[in-house]
Protein backbone atom coordinates (compact mmCIF):
# COMPACT_ATOMS: atom_id res chain seq x y z
CA UNK A 1 0.00 0.00 0.00
CA UNK A 2 1.58 3.24 -1.05
CA UNK A 3 1.34 5.91 -3.62
CA UNK A 4 4.35 7.71 -5.03
CA UNK A 5 2.60 11.07 -4.79
CA UNK A 6 0.64 11.15 -1.56
CA UNK A 7 -1.79 14.07 -1.64
CA UNK A 8 -1.80 16.73 1.05
CA UNK A 9 0.51 19.53 2.13
CA UNK A 10 3.45 19.12 4.51
CA UNK A 11 2.37 18.95 8.14
CA UNK A 12 5.93 19.09 9.34
CA UNK A 13 9.19 19.88 7.64
CA UNK A 14 12.69 19.75 9.05
CA UNK A 15 15.10 21.99 7.21
CA UNK A 16 18.87 21.81 7.32
CA UNK A 17 19.06 20.18 10.75
CA UNK A 18 22.59 19.69 12.10
CA UNK A 19 23.19 18.32 15.56
CA UNK A 20 26.41 17.48 17.33
CA UNK A 21 27.39 16.38 20.79
CA UNK A 22 30.85 17.73 21.38
CA UNK A 23 32.88 16.22 18.55
CA UNK A 24 30.28 13.68 17.51
CA UNK A 25 28.25 14.72 14.50
CA UNK A 26 24.83 13.10 15.03
CA UNK A 27 22.98 14.80 12.17
CA UNK A 28 24.33 16.76 9.23
CA UNK A 29 22.12 19.09 7.23
CA UNK A 30 19.08 16.81 7.17
CA UNK A 31 15.90 18.02 5.47
CA UNK A 32 12.66 16.19 4.75
CA UNK A 33 8.96 16.70 5.20
CA UNK A 34 6.02 14.73 6.52
CA UNK A 35 2.75 15.21 4.69
CA UNK A 36 -0.58 15.45 6.41
CA UNK A 37 -2.19 12.03 6.79
CA UNK A 38 0.75 9.90 5.66
CA UNK A 39 2.82 7.26 7.42
CA UNK A 40 6.46 8.22 7.09
CA UNK A 41 9.19 5.76 7.98
CA UNK A 42 12.69 6.73 9.07
CA UNK A 43 15.18 3.91 8.56
CA UNK A 44 18.91 3.45 8.73
CA UNK A 45 21.58 1.30 10.36
CA UNK A 46 22.27 1.53 14.10
CA UNK A 47 23.69 4.89 15.09
CA UNK A 48 22.45 6.58 11.92
CA UNK A 49 20.73 9.34 13.91
CA UNK A 50 17.11 8.20 13.67
CA UNK A 51 16.26 8.62 17.36
CA UNK A 52 18.23 11.88 17.45
CA UNK A 53 15.99 13.09 14.65
CA UNK A 54 12.84 12.29 16.67
CA UNK A 55 14.39 13.96 19.71
CA UNK A 56 14.98 17.08 17.64
CA UNK A 57 11.40 17.07 16.37
CA UNK A 58 9.86 16.90 19.83
CA UNK A 59 12.38 19.25 21.40
CA UNK A 60 14.51 16.97 23.57
CA UNK A 61 17.58 17.97 21.57
CA UNK A 62 18.23 21.43 20.28
CA UNK A 63 20.03 21.35 16.92
CA UNK A 64 22.98 23.67 16.26
CA UNK A 65 21.59 24.55 12.85
CA UNK A 66 18.31 24.29 10.99
CA UNK A 67 14.71 24.67 12.01
CA UNK A 68 11.36 22.94 12.07
CA UNK A 69 8.21 24.04 10.28
CA UNK A 70 5.08 22.67 11.89
CA UNK A 71 1.76 23.60 10.28
CA UNK A 72 3.56 26.43 8.59
CA UNK A 73 4.90 27.81 11.87
CA UNK A 74 8.65 28.21 11.97
CA UNK A 75 10.12 26.86 15.21
CA UNK A 76 13.82 27.33 15.77
CA UNK A 77 13.75 26.50 19.46
CA UNK A 78 11.45 23.53 19.92
CA UNK A 79 10.83 22.40 23.50
CA UNK A 80 9.03 19.22 24.64
CA UNK A 81 6.21 21.20 26.26
CA UNK A 82 5.72 23.27 23.12
CA UNK A 83 5.72 20.16 20.93
CA UNK A 84 3.08 18.55 23.14
CA UNK A 85 0.90 21.68 23.03
CA UNK A 86 1.17 21.88 19.25
CA UNK A 87 -0.06 18.29 18.96
CA UNK A 88 3.07 16.16 18.66
CA UNK A 89 3.02 12.94 20.71
CA UNK A 90 5.66 10.24 20.86
CA UNK A 91 6.69 6.86 22.18
CA UNK A 92 10.17 5.75 23.15
CA UNK A 93 12.50 3.04 21.94
CA UNK A 94 12.87 1.63 25.45
CA UNK A 95 9.39 2.09 26.81
CA UNK A 96 9.04 5.11 29.10
CA UNK A 97 5.88 4.55 31.10
CA UNK A 98 4.90 5.71 34.56
CA UNK A 99 5.61 2.36 36.17
CA UNK A 100 4.00 2.88 39.53
CA UNK A 101 0.74 4.17 38.05
CA UNK A 102 -2.12 2.11 36.66
CA UNK A 103 -2.69 1.87 32.93
CA UNK A 104 -5.69 4.15 33.37
CA UNK A 105 -3.65 6.80 35.20
CA UNK A 106 -0.92 6.54 32.55
CA UNK A 107 -3.46 7.37 29.89
CA UNK A 108 -5.02 10.11 32.01
CA UNK A 109 -1.56 11.64 32.38
CA UNK A 110 -1.56 11.84 28.59
CA UNK A 111 -4.42 14.30 28.89
CA UNK A 112 -2.56 16.57 31.32
CA UNK A 113 -2.50 19.40 28.81
CA UNK A 114 -6.18 19.19 28.02
CA UNK A 115 -7.31 19.61 31.63
CA UNK A 116 -7.45 23.17 32.85
CA UNK A 117 -9.36 23.17 36.10
CA UNK A 118 -7.81 25.25 38.87
CA UNK A 119 -5.98 23.89 41.83
CA UNK A 120 -8.74 24.95 44.21
CA UNK A 121 -11.47 22.92 42.52
CA UNK A 122 -9.14 19.98 42.16
CA UNK A 123 -8.58 19.97 45.88
CA UNK A 124 -12.29 19.87 46.50
CA UNK A 125 -12.75 17.29 43.75
CA UNK A 126 -16.11 18.80 43.10
CA UNK A 127 -17.97 20.96 40.61
CA UNK A 128 -16.00 21.79 37.45
CA UNK A 129 -13.06 19.57 38.38
CA UNK A 130 -15.27 16.51 38.68
CA UNK A 131 -17.05 17.22 35.38
CA UNK A 132 -13.70 17.65 33.71
CA UNK A 133 -12.32 14.43 35.19
CA UNK A 134 -15.37 12.50 33.93
CA UNK A 135 -15.11 14.01 30.45
CA UNK A 136 -11.46 13.04 30.10
CA UNK A 137 -12.03 9.64 31.61
CA UNK A 138 -14.54 9.06 28.82
CA UNK A 139 -12.00 10.01 26.17
CA UNK A 140 -9.45 7.68 27.73
CA UNK A 141 -11.93 4.80 27.77
CA UNK A 142 -12.30 5.20 23.99
CA UNK A 143 -8.55 4.74 23.59
CA UNK A 144 -8.67 1.72 25.90
CA UNK A 145 -11.40 0.17 23.77
CA UNK A 146 -9.51 0.94 20.59
CA UNK A 147 -6.32 -0.76 21.80
CA UNK A 148 -8.20 -3.67 23.38
CA UNK A 149 -6.63 -3.22 26.80
CA UNK A 150 -9.86 -3.16 28.85
CA UNK A 151 -8.71 -6.07 31.01
CA UNK A 152 -5.54 -4.38 32.27
CA UNK A 153 -7.03 -0.96 33.05
CA UNK A 154 -6.20 -1.09 36.76
CA UNK A 155 -2.88 -2.92 36.55
CA UNK A 156 0.27 -0.93 37.41
CA UNK A 157 2.06 -0.40 34.10
CA UNK A 158 5.34 -1.75 35.45
CA UNK A 159 3.83 -5.20 35.95
CA UNK A 160 2.82 -5.70 32.32
CA UNK A 161 4.79 -7.76 29.84
CA UNK A 162 6.91 -5.76 27.42
CA UNK A 163 4.58 -6.07 24.43
CA UNK A 164 1.63 -4.71 26.40
CA UNK A 165 3.75 -1.90 27.83
CA UNK A 166 4.45 -0.78 24.28
CA UNK A 167 0.74 -0.84 23.57
CA UNK A 168 -0.02 1.21 26.70
CA UNK A 169 2.65 3.69 25.68
CA UNK A 170 0.94 4.04 22.30
CA UNK A 171 -2.32 4.53 24.22
CA UNK A 172 -0.85 7.36 26.27
CA UNK A 173 0.29 9.08 23.09
CA UNK A 174 -3.16 8.59 21.53
CA UNK A 175 -4.85 10.01 24.64
CA UNK A 176 -3.15 13.29 23.73
CA UNK A 177 -5.19 13.28 20.49
CA UNK A 178 -2.07 14.23 18.56
CA UNK A 179 -1.88 15.53 15.07
CA UNK A 180 1.55 14.00 14.57
CA UNK A 181 2.54 10.75 16.23
CA UNK A 182 6.22 9.85 16.50
CA UNK A 183 6.88 6.15 17.11
CA UNK A 184 10.40 5.04 18.00
CA UNK A 185 10.68 1.36 17.04
CA UNK A 186 7.12 0.44 18.02
CA UNK A 187 7.73 -3.22 17.17
CA UNK A 188 11.13 -3.81 18.79
CA UNK A 189 11.32 -6.79 21.11
CA UNK A 190 7.90 -8.12 20.09
CA UNK A 191 6.95 -11.54 18.88
CA UNK A 192 5.26 -12.04 15.52
CA UNK A 193 1.72 -11.93 16.85
CA UNK A 194 2.36 -8.74 18.84
CA UNK A 195 3.98 -7.19 15.78
CA UNK A 196 0.92 -7.93 13.67
CA UNK A 197 -1.35 -6.39 16.32
CA UNK A 198 0.82 -3.30 16.49
CA UNK A 199 0.83 -2.95 12.69
CA UNK A 200 -2.94 -3.15 12.68
CA UNK A 201 -3.20 -0.48 15.39
CA UNK A 202 -0.87 1.85 13.54
CA UNK A 203 -2.82 1.48 10.29
CA UNK A 204 -6.13 1.95 12.15
CA UNK A 205 -4.91 5.07 13.97
CA UNK A 206 -3.85 6.47 10.62
CA UNK A 207 -7.07 5.67 8.78
CA UNK A 208 -9.67 6.12 11.56
CA UNK A 209 -8.30 9.23 13.28
CA UNK A 210 -6.40 10.64 10.32
CA UNK A 211 -3.30 10.93 12.51
CA UNK A 212 -0.05 11.59 10.68
CA UNK A 213 2.61 9.12 11.79
CA UNK A 214 6.40 9.11 11.63
CA UNK A 215 7.98 5.85 12.71
CA UNK A 216 11.43 4.42 13.12
CA UNK A 217 11.58 0.73 12.30
CA UNK A 218 14.22 -1.88 11.53
CA UNK A 219 11.98 -4.61 10.17
CA UNK A 220 11.98 -3.89 6.42
CA UNK A 221 8.89 -6.02 5.87
CA UNK A 222 6.96 -3.85 8.30
CA UNK A 223 8.28 -0.66 6.72
CA UNK A 224 7.23 -1.85 3.26
CA UNK A 225 3.74 -2.74 4.49
CA UNK A 226 3.05 0.37 6.53
CA UNK A 227 4.71 3.40 5.10
CA UNK A 228 3.89 5.72 2.26
CA UNK A 229 7.36 7.23 2.07
CA UNK A 230 10.72 6.42 3.59
CA UNK A 231 13.66 8.59 4.71
CA UNK A 232 16.99 6.77 4.92
CA UNK A 233 19.68 8.08 7.25
CA UNK A 234 23.27 6.89 7.45
CA UNK A 235 25.98 8.44 9.65
CA UNK A 236 23.69 11.39 10.29
CA UNK A 237 23.14 12.16 6.62
CA UNK A 238 20.12 11.64 4.44
CA UNK A 239 20.95 9.12 1.73
CA UNK A 240 17.48 8.36 0.44
CA UNK A 241 13.96 9.76 0.47
CA UNK A 242 11.29 8.05 -1.62
CA UNK A 243 8.63 5.36 -1.69
CA UNK A 244 9.53 2.03 -0.06
CA UNK A 245 9.83 0.29 -3.46
CA UNK A 246 12.30 2.79 -4.83
CA UNK A 247 14.31 2.98 -1.60
CA UNK A 248 14.62 -0.80 -1.51
CA UNK A 249 16.29 -0.79 -4.92
CA UNK A 250 18.64 2.12 -4.21
CA UNK A 251 22.29 1.19 -4.33
CA UNK A 252 23.23 3.69 -1.59
CA UNK A 253 20.73 2.15 0.79
CA UNK A 254 21.87 -1.39 0.04
CA UNK A 255 25.47 -0.31 0.62
CA UNK A 256 24.61 1.37 3.89
CA UNK A 257 22.84 -1.69 5.22
CA UNK A 258 25.12 -4.39 3.87
CA UNK A 259 28.41 -2.55 3.78
CA UNK A 260 30.52 -1.89 0.69
CA UNK A 261 33.43 -4.03 -0.39
CA UNK A 262 36.62 -2.04 -0.61
Amino acid sequence: MSGSDHPGEALLAVEGISLNFGGVQALTDVSFDIKRGEIRAIIGPNGAGKTSMLNVINGFYRPQAGHILFRGERLTRMRPGLAARRGIARTFQNVALFHGMTVLDNLMAGRALKMHCGFFWQMLRHGPALTEEIKHRHAVELVIDFLEIEAIRKVPAGRLPYGLQKRVELGRALAMEPELLLLDEPMSGMNLEEKEDMCRFILDVNSQFGTTIALIEHDMGVVMDLSNRVVVLNYGQKIGDDTPEVVKQSQDVIDAYLGVGH
Partner: protein
Protein backbone atom coordinates in the same frame (compact mmCIF):
# COMPACT_ATOMS: atom_id res chain seq x y z
CA UNK B 1 13.05 -18.23 83.20
CA UNK B 2 13.85 -15.06 85.05
CA UNK B 3 14.66 -13.21 81.80
CA UNK B 4 11.48 -14.51 80.24
CA UNK B 5 9.51 -13.10 83.18
CA UNK B 6 11.32 -9.76 82.96
CA UNK B 7 10.84 -9.30 79.22
CA UNK B 8 7.47 -10.78 78.49
CA UNK B 9 5.43 -10.46 81.67
CA UNK B 10 6.62 -7.72 84.03
CA UNK B 11 6.23 -4.79 81.57
CA UNK B 12 2.62 -5.71 80.94
CA UNK B 13 1.92 -6.02 84.65
CA UNK B 14 3.35 -2.52 85.07
CA UNK B 15 1.10 -1.23 82.27
CA UNK B 16 -1.97 -2.75 83.88
CA UNK B 17 -0.87 -1.48 87.29
CA UNK B 18 -0.66 2.17 86.27
CA UNK B 19 -2.97 2.76 83.28
CA UNK B 20 -2.71 6.55 83.64
CA UNK B 21 1.05 6.39 83.14
CA UNK B 22 0.50 4.20 80.06
CA UNK B 23 -2.04 6.67 78.67
CA UNK B 24 0.34 9.57 79.30
CA UNK B 25 3.16 7.76 77.54
CA UNK B 26 0.93 6.86 74.61
CA UNK B 27 -0.11 10.49 74.22
CA UNK B 28 3.46 11.73 74.36
CA UNK B 29 4.49 9.11 71.84
CA UNK B 30 1.59 10.15 69.65
CA UNK B 31 2.64 13.80 69.67
CA UNK B 32 6.31 13.17 68.95
CA UNK B 33 5.20 10.67 66.30
CA UNK B 34 3.16 13.45 64.69
CA UNK B 35 6.30 15.56 64.44
CA UNK B 36 8.33 12.71 62.95
CA UNK B 37 5.48 12.24 60.50
CA UNK B 38 5.56 15.92 59.51
CA UNK B 39 9.27 15.80 58.74
CA UNK B 40 8.82 12.51 56.88
CA UNK B 41 6.01 14.13 54.91
CA UNK B 42 8.42 16.73 53.56
CA UNK B 43 10.74 13.93 52.40
CA UNK B 44 7.87 11.99 50.80
CA UNK B 45 6.62 15.00 48.82
CA UNK B 46 9.98 15.57 47.20
CA UNK B 47 10.73 11.87 46.80
CA UNK B 48 7.44 11.35 44.99
CA UNK B 49 7.96 14.17 42.56
CA UNK B 50 11.68 13.97 41.86
CA UNK B 51 12.60 10.47 42.97
CA UNK B 52 15.21 12.00 45.24
CA UNK B 53 15.77 11.74 48.94
CA UNK B 54 16.09 15.37 49.96
CA UNK B 55 18.81 15.36 52.56
CA UNK B 56 18.17 19.06 53.20
CA UNK B 57 14.62 18.59 54.49
CA UNK B 58 15.70 18.77 58.16
CA UNK B 59 17.64 21.96 57.47
CA UNK B 60 14.65 23.42 55.66
CA UNK B 61 12.64 22.98 58.87
CA UNK B 62 15.23 24.91 60.88
CA UNK B 63 15.70 27.47 58.13
CA UNK B 64 11.97 28.14 57.86
CA UNK B 65 11.56 28.49 61.63
CA UNK B 66 14.65 30.73 61.90
CA UNK B 67 13.32 32.96 59.14
CA UNK B 68 10.02 33.33 60.97
CA UNK B 69 11.64 34.14 64.32
CA UNK B 70 14.28 36.34 62.69
CA UNK B 71 11.66 38.43 60.91
CA UNK B 72 9.66 38.85 64.09
CA UNK B 73 12.76 39.86 66.04
CA UNK B 74 13.44 42.47 63.37
CA UNK B 75 10.09 44.04 64.22
CA UNK B 76 7.72 42.46 61.71
CA UNK B 77 4.28 41.65 63.21
CA UNK B 78 3.65 37.92 63.69
CA UNK B 79 1.08 37.50 60.91
CA UNK B 80 3.25 39.34 58.38
CA UNK B 81 6.26 37.34 59.52
CA UNK B 82 4.38 34.13 58.65
CA UNK B 83 3.37 35.47 55.23
CA UNK B 84 6.92 36.64 54.53
CA UNK B 85 8.34 33.30 55.69
CA UNK B 86 6.03 31.54 53.23
CA UNK B 87 7.24 33.92 50.53
CA UNK B 88 10.84 33.11 51.43
CA UNK B 89 10.07 29.40 51.02
CA UNK B 90 8.61 30.14 47.57
CA UNK B 91 11.73 32.06 46.57
CA UNK B 92 13.82 29.18 47.89
CA UNK B 93 11.81 26.67 45.84
CA UNK B 94 12.23 28.73 42.67
CA UNK B 95 15.93 29.16 43.39
CA UNK B 96 16.45 25.43 43.94
CA UNK B 97 14.60 24.61 40.73
CA UNK B 98 16.63 27.11 38.65
CA UNK B 99 20.06 26.55 40.13
CA UNK B 100 20.07 22.94 41.30
CA UNK B 101 17.39 20.82 39.63
CA UNK B 102 17.21 22.30 36.14
CA UNK B 103 20.91 21.86 35.33
CA UNK B 104 20.71 18.25 36.55
CA UNK B 105 17.69 17.04 34.54
CA UNK B 106 18.02 13.43 33.36
CA UNK B 107 21.08 12.79 35.51
CA UNK B 108 21.16 9.69 37.74
CA UNK B 109 19.28 9.96 41.03
CA UNK B 110 22.53 9.73 43.00
CA UNK B 111 23.67 13.03 41.46
CA UNK B 112 20.52 14.81 42.63
CA UNK B 113 20.87 13.22 46.06
CA UNK B 114 24.40 14.57 46.37
CA UNK B 115 23.13 17.96 45.25
CA UNK B 116 20.75 18.00 48.23
CA UNK B 117 23.78 17.48 50.52
CA UNK B 118 25.27 20.61 49.03
CA UNK B 119 21.96 22.37 49.47
CA UNK B 120 21.80 21.48 53.16
CA UNK B 121 25.29 22.91 53.82
CA UNK B 122 24.37 26.01 51.88
CA UNK B 123 21.22 26.50 53.98
CA UNK B 124 23.09 25.99 57.27
CA UNK B 125 25.64 28.58 56.19
CA UNK B 126 23.06 31.05 54.97
CA UNK B 127 20.88 30.60 58.05
CA UNK B 128 23.76 31.13 60.46
CA UNK B 129 25.00 34.12 58.49
CA UNK B 130 21.65 35.88 58.46
CA UNK B 131 20.04 34.80 61.71
CA UNK B 132 23.03 33.75 63.82
CA UNK B 133 23.88 30.28 65.06
CA UNK B 134 22.39 30.48 68.53
CA UNK B 135 19.14 28.86 69.50
CA UNK B 136 16.04 31.02 69.49
CA UNK B 137 12.66 31.13 71.16
CA UNK B 138 9.68 30.33 68.92
CA UNK B 139 7.11 33.14 68.94
CA UNK B 140 4.41 30.83 70.25
CA UNK B 141 2.12 33.38 71.89
CA UNK B 142 2.29 35.90 69.07
CA UNK B 143 1.16 33.23 66.63
CA UNK B 144 -1.89 32.54 68.76
CA UNK B 145 -0.86 29.00 69.68
CA UNK B 146 -2.43 27.92 72.98
CA UNK B 147 -0.34 27.25 76.06
CA UNK B 148 -0.99 25.56 79.37
CA UNK B 149 -2.42 22.10 79.78
CA UNK B 150 -5.58 20.15 80.44
CA UNK B 151 -5.60 17.60 83.22
CA UNK B 152 -7.81 14.60 82.59
CA UNK B 153 -8.75 12.69 85.69
CA UNK B 154 -9.20 9.26 84.23
CA UNK B 155 -7.89 5.73 84.70
CA UNK B 156 -7.41 6.08 88.46
CA UNK B 157 -5.01 8.94 87.97
CA UNK B 158 -4.23 12.06 85.98
CA UNK B 159 -3.22 12.46 82.35
CA UNK B 160 -1.81 15.84 81.35
CA UNK B 161 -2.46 17.06 77.81
CA UNK B 162 -0.57 20.16 76.66
CA UNK B 163 -2.93 22.50 74.77
CA UNK B 164 -0.11 23.15 72.31
CA UNK B 165 0.13 19.43 71.53
CA UNK B 166 -3.59 19.20 70.88
CA UNK B 167 -3.39 22.13 68.47
CA UNK B 168 -0.38 20.54 66.80
CA UNK B 169 -2.24 17.27 66.30
CA UNK B 170 -5.17 19.06 64.66
CA UNK B 171 -2.92 21.11 62.36
CA UNK B 172 -1.01 17.98 61.33
CA UNK B 173 -4.19 16.06 60.61
CA UNK B 174 -5.61 18.80 58.38
CA UNK B 175 -2.35 19.23 56.48
CA UNK B 176 -1.93 15.52 55.92
CA UNK B 177 -5.48 14.83 54.75
CA UNK B 178 -5.34 17.73 52.30
CA UNK B 179 -2.01 16.61 50.82
CA UNK B 180 -3.03 12.96 50.57
CA UNK B 181 -6.21 13.86 48.68
CA UNK B 182 -4.39 16.15 46.27
CA UNK B 183 -1.83 13.49 45.43
CA UNK B 184 -4.28 10.68 44.92
CA UNK B 185 -7.15 12.29 43.11
CA UNK B 186 -6.16 15.35 41.13
CA UNK B 187 -4.51 16.12 37.83
CA UNK B 188 -1.67 17.83 39.65
CA UNK B 189 -1.20 14.77 41.84
CA UNK B 190 -1.07 12.57 38.75
CA UNK B 191 1.46 14.93 37.17
CA UNK B 192 3.61 14.75 40.31
CA UNK B 193 3.64 10.97 40.25
CA UNK B 194 4.31 10.99 36.52
CA UNK B 195 7.36 13.21 36.97
CA UNK B 196 8.63 10.91 39.70
CA UNK B 197 8.40 7.87 37.41
CA UNK B 198 9.94 9.18 34.21
CA UNK B 199 11.18 12.63 33.34
CA UNK B 200 11.23 12.20 29.56
CA UNK B 201 7.81 10.53 29.42
CA UNK B 202 6.34 13.32 31.54
CA UNK B 203 7.92 15.89 29.22
CA UNK B 204 6.58 14.12 26.15
CA UNK B 205 2.97 14.42 27.34
CA UNK B 206 3.49 18.10 28.04
CA UNK B 207 3.91 18.12 31.80
CA UNK B 208 6.23 20.96 32.79
CA UNK B 209 8.98 19.63 35.05
CA UNK B 210 9.88 23.14 36.16
CA UNK B 211 6.39 24.02 37.40
CA UNK B 212 5.97 20.70 39.16
CA UNK B 213 9.33 21.01 40.91
CA UNK B 214 8.68 24.54 42.09
CA UNK B 215 5.26 23.45 43.33
CA UNK B 216 6.55 20.44 45.19
CA UNK B 217 9.53 22.18 46.79
CA UNK B 218 7.28 25.04 47.80
CA UNK B 219 4.82 22.60 49.38
CA UNK B 220 7.70 20.88 51.16
CA UNK B 221 8.81 24.33 52.32
CA UNK B 222 5.39 25.06 53.81
CA UNK B 223 5.37 21.67 55.53
CA UNK B 224 8.84 22.54 56.85
CA UNK B 225 7.58 25.86 58.17
CA UNK B 226 4.66 24.24 59.98
CA UNK B 227 6.96 21.58 61.41
CA UNK B 228 9.41 24.25 62.47
CA UNK B 229 6.74 26.27 64.26
CA UNK B 230 5.40 23.28 66.18
CA UNK B 231 8.77 21.78 66.95
CA UNK B 232 10.19 25.16 67.87
CA UNK B 233 7.30 25.78 70.23
CA UNK B 234 7.98 22.51 72.03
CA UNK B 235 11.73 23.01 72.42
CA UNK B 236 13.47 25.88 70.69
CA UNK B 237 14.74 26.78 67.25
CA UNK B 238 18.34 25.72 66.66
CA UNK B 239 20.39 23.94 64.04
CA UNK B 240 20.68 20.97 66.40
CA UNK B 241 17.16 20.11 65.30
CA UNK B 242 18.50 18.66 62.06
CA UNK B 243 19.76 15.65 64.01
CA UNK B 244 16.22 14.89 65.07
CA UNK B 245 15.22 15.14 61.44
CA UNK B 246 17.26 12.02 60.75
CA UNK B 247 14.58 10.12 62.67
CA UNK B 248 12.52 10.62 59.55
CA UNK B 249 14.61 7.92 57.85
CA UNK B 250 13.33 4.96 59.91
CA UNK B 251 9.87 6.48 59.63
CA UNK B 252 10.18 6.50 55.84
CA UNK B 253 11.53 2.97 55.71
CA UNK B 254 8.62 1.83 57.86
CA UNK B 255 5.91 3.71 56.00
CA UNK B 256 7.30 3.57 52.47
CA UNK B 257 9.08 6.40 50.67
CA UNK B 258 6.23 7.06 48.30
CA UNK B 259 3.22 7.06 50.59
CA UNK B 260 1.80 10.05 52.45
CA UNK B 261 -0.42 7.91 54.70
CA UNK B 262 2.67 5.71 55.17
CA UNK B 263 4.67 8.68 56.50
CA UNK B 264 1.93 9.41 59.02
CA UNK B 265 1.38 5.85 60.22
CA UNK B 266 5.15 5.24 60.21
CA UNK B 267 5.72 8.39 62.27
CA UNK B 268 3.10 7.43 64.81
CA UNK B 269 4.37 3.86 65.13
CA UNK B 270 7.93 5.05 65.65
CA UNK B 271 6.90 7.80 68.10
CA UNK B 272 4.65 5.61 70.23
CA UNK B 273 6.74 2.45 70.20
CA UNK B 274 10.02 4.14 71.13
CA UNK B 275 8.40 5.88 74.11
CA UNK B 276 6.71 2.70 75.30
CA UNK B 277 9.86 0.65 74.81
CA UNK B 278 11.98 3.19 76.65
CA UNK B 279 9.65 3.27 79.64
CA UNK B 280 8.93 -0.43 80.09
CA UNK B 281 11.82 -2.29 78.50
CA UNK B 282 14.47 0.45 78.62
CA UNK B 283 15.59 -0.21 82.21
CA UNK B 284 16.46 -3.81 81.28
CA UNK B 285 18.97 -2.50 78.72
CA UNK B 286 20.29 0.35 80.84
CA UNK B 287 18.06 3.05 79.30
CA UNK B 288 18.74 5.40 76.40
CA UNK B 289 16.92 3.14 73.96
CA UNK B 290 15.04 6.02 72.37
CA UNK B 291 18.01 6.97 70.22
CA UNK B 292 18.27 3.62 68.44
CA UNK B 293 14.98 1.77 68.78
CA UNK B 294 13.49 3.33 65.63
CA UNK B 295 16.40 2.06 63.55
CA UNK B 296 15.88 -1.48 64.82
CA UNK B 297 12.26 -1.33 63.67
CA UNK B 298 13.43 -0.01 60.30
CA UNK B 299 15.92 -2.87 59.97
CA UNK B 300 13.24 -5.48 60.65
CA UNK B 301 10.90 -3.87 58.12
CA UNK B 302 13.68 -3.83 55.51
CA UNK B 303 14.17 -7.56 55.95
CA UNK B 304 10.56 -8.50 55.42
CA UNK B 305 8.97 -5.71 53.41
CA UNK B 306 11.55 -3.54 51.65
CA UNK B 307 8.94 -1.23 50.11
CA UNK B 308 7.61 -0.33 53.57
CA UNK B 309 4.08 -0.83 54.88
CA UNK B 310 2.39 1.39 52.31
CA UNK B 311 4.95 2.01 49.60
CA UNK B 312 4.49 1.18 45.95
CA UNK B 313 5.77 -2.30 45.23
CA UNK B 314 9.24 -2.07 43.79
CA UNK B 315 9.17 -3.56 40.32
CA UNK B 316 12.50 -4.01 38.66
CA UNK B 317 12.86 -5.73 35.31
CA UNK B 318 16.09 -7.55 34.56
Amino acid sequence: MHVFQQVLIDPFLQMAGAPDLLAQTLWEGFVSGMLYALIALGFVLIYKASGVLNFAQGIMVVFAASTLVGLHTAGVPALWAVILAVAVMLVLAIGIERLVLRPLVNRPDAVLFMATFGLSYFLVGLGELVFGGGSKQMITEQLGLPSGSIALHILRGTVLLQRLDIAAAIICAVLVVALALIFQYTRIGRALRAVADSHRAALSVGISLNQIWVLVWFTAGIVALVTGIIWGARSDVSFALQIVALKALPVLILGGFTSIPGAIVGGLIVGVSEKIFELYWGPLLGGGTESWFAYVIALIVLLFRPQGLFGEVIIERV
